[in-house]
Every structure is written in C-alpha cells, then in structure tokens.
Assembly symmetry: C2
Homo-oligomer: 105 residues x 2
DNA sequence: CTGCTATTTGGCGATTTGGCCAAGAGGATG
DNA sequence: CATCCTCTTGGCCAAATCGCCAAATAGCAG
C-alpha cells in the first residue's frame, strides 16, 4: 500500500513532455498543416503553397511537428511526404471550438 | 452550387484563434494547473504552492488561461477561485500520451 | 483610517520563437 | 561528370515568452 495522501498525479516531467507536444500544435501554420494532412499525405511543396510562407519556414514547422511525433515523413524520389501519425489530434479541434464559443457568449 | 474545387476548410482566421487557445495550454505549469482544476476549484494560493513559482508568475498563467476561455475565476472574500470552464480539454491528455508513446517505440 | 492578506499589474533581463535569405545535402537526369 | 530540383540547415533579427521583484489594487479586521 502507498501513502494515501499522495495525489494521483502524473510526475512533473510528464507535464513538460505533454507541453512540448501541445506547443508543437500551438501555431496557426502548423494547425493548418495538420488540418491538410488529415486529408492525406502531402509533400513539402504542396504544404508550402498552402501555408504561403517560405519553404524553409514550412520545412522548420514540419521538422518541429516530426520531432514531436505528430507527423512522420517519407522521402520518395526528390520529394518528402508527410502524414499524420496520430490522427486523434484532430479531436482537439471540436473541443477548442467549444472553448472559443464559450468565450464569446 | 458552390465551386467544387474549393476545399472545405475553415478560414485562415479560425486557425489563428485555435492556436491561441492551444498555446495557452502549451506550458508545463499551465498543464499542471489544468490537471489540478480537474479535481475541483482552487484558489490562487493553492495553485501557487502546487506550481512552486512566484505567485505573480502563477497569476499571469491564470490570467492567460482565463483570457483563452479555458478557466473562469470568481472572487470570494480575499481569495480568487479558478475552475475549468470546458473540461473537454482533459481529453487531450490521452491523445497526447499516445503521441508521446508513438514517438518512443 | 490603518494595517494585513490575497491577488494583479508593470517592468526588467534572459531565453525562445518565427520569419527570411543564403548555403548545403541528396536524388534524379542528361 | 555537371546540372537541376526538392528539401533542410544555419544565421540573423524582431517579437514574444517566462521568470522574478516591486508596486498597485481590493477586501477584511481592527
């Protein structure tokens, strides 16, 4: 038996790790990319056109999403294709929308 | 009938707004606060002790969460109590965990 | 009113982020 | 081989973030 008074909370480090993943989503361009990838895999050039920023900027966004485990990449020929690894992140949107709606009554 | 080629995507501004909400969650201390508030309302002093930073720092975290619509506050006597407005944000954690697990096989 | 407590706000440095440009890496193609 | 093409990386700078301390605010007690 453990000490009963200890709160059943994840360790401090777990919150830091979660924050890293959530932070990777916390940018308009990256949300746009995730939204587009929910429709299927896309190459960097397609995502660059979508986002409308320099390809190097988009590449860095993708790198961040990849490091966070949200997307995976695969090189085929000259192009690199990205896809969602864990589509459950799409479920966020519905909740986020309800937070936004709750904020403006 | 609308132009069929137009993608059924939320407008650009929607992604910026979503990003603001997600960004408010994207910090270890704020995630810890949200986790604690899932157990019930808490005053700033309790949350300050939990987080372990200066009370002014915690107050600013709470202010950010409030501005994003994630928490609401209520003053009673000298204390200010915070509570979750939209508990669905707790559902994030399960998905985030699966992203983290997917990242380390 | 004076003092005490709980919280917020302002301001300051240190660090991080996000954009662009330029340069590099790595395949395909001739 | 040289060249083209797609993407990544490094560097730079402006802006945002996060912590602390100090000062301001607000409610309660005397």
């Amino acid at each position: 038996m453990q000490e009963l008074k200890i709160k059943n909370r994840p360790p401090r480090e777990a919150f830091a790790e979660r924050a890293r993943v959530i932070k990777a989503l916390a940018h308009p361009s990256r949300l746009l990319i995730v939204d587009e990838l929910s429709r299927g895999e896309r190459c960097v050039c397609e995502l660059t056109e979508l986002v409308g920023h320099d390809i190097s900027t988009v590449s860095k966004h993708l790198s961040l999403l990849r490091q966070s485990g949200i997307v995976a990449d695969e090189k085929r020929g000259l192009q690199v294709f990205y896809r969602l690894t864990t589509p459950c992140v799409l479920n966020f949107f519905a909740c986020i929308e309800s937070v936004i709606r709750a904020g403006k009554p």
